[in-house]
Amino acid sequence: MKTRILPTLLLKLSVILSLFITSNALHATELLHIKKAYSPEAPPVVKILAGYMELHNPTSKDIVITGVSSPDFEHVEIHSMVMRDGMMHMDRQDTLVVPAKGQVNLEPGDLHVMFINKLKSFKDGDHIPLTIQMGKQSQSLSLPVRKSE
């Protein structure tokens, strides 16, 4: 019996250890701490969705976001929202700076990720994959789709 348990235990331990190492390794490439990411569920007929999140930069250098992409959309952009000449204007942001030790919030009525032309449908509980490009580095996350009440 003992001889059987030991290999199983060792195997389990190695799996846990490798998982720990992998997650730590992944974490090392995560430049931004991303919190409260979500995408509001939209009517099924809508092809364009929004994404919101808090971007925290724990490093002592500014982080410049140079692009965003998702395999489930034709195109993804970051937009600002400004009131100009009595109209709400959405302006594409080619870059977005998250200041050193600072944060940038993407929230309703303000900066947001704009997912253009969905390639599949999304409903409450689904996840939207998103990759944030920061020059040569990139970071991936998934945004839970949430129905607003």
Binding site: P43, V46, G86, M88, G109, M114
Partner: protein
Amino acid sequence: MPTQALTNRTFVVILLLVSSLAFFAGYELQRSPKNKQLDTQVAEILPKPRTLSNFKLLNHQQQAFNQQSLRDKWSLAFFGYTNCPDICPNTMIVMKQFWKKLSELNIDLDLVQIVFVSVDPKRDTIGLLKDYVSYFNTDFIGVTGDMSEIEKLTQELEILYGYEEADKATGNYIVNHSAQILLLNPAAQLHAILPPPHDAGIITADFITIKSHYEN
């Protein structure tokens, strides 16, 4: 001398009394119901409600939507487009919350309507609008129609919109537009403007203030 002093004092007292009376009378006159400024949180009430000229649009049930459709009900109208990712769906969610609050307050929902007018009739077909508004609430009304009629109505309501160039890769184009919610009274007149950002609680409170004042 004492009599003279007394007379002088009496005169001063009378003068004070009269002037303070006049002051309060004037003050009361100014805040008489006719001129009284309504205490709203965000709503900008028009000094004089604006009557609209007739317009011919269609609702999402393919029925005529015109000036008559705004009569005998309070209308909250928002102008946008279904491909709008942020301000339009967020405003529709606020409308949904507002609707729920009204029902909780036992306000007769037959006397209120929520209208979403598309300023992008090229893409927002009637079928699409139907699916869009019903997603938020099956009582909400989607409205669209000929560009010329939309132009006419938005001009009178001072709603602005403009199209950006289509993206070459996706064909998608952004429509910039005003974000205020308009409140129209049961005489189909523009009554008040609710500027963004929108909050269901504030809109409910202001709506009730305006409605009660109008009914009295």
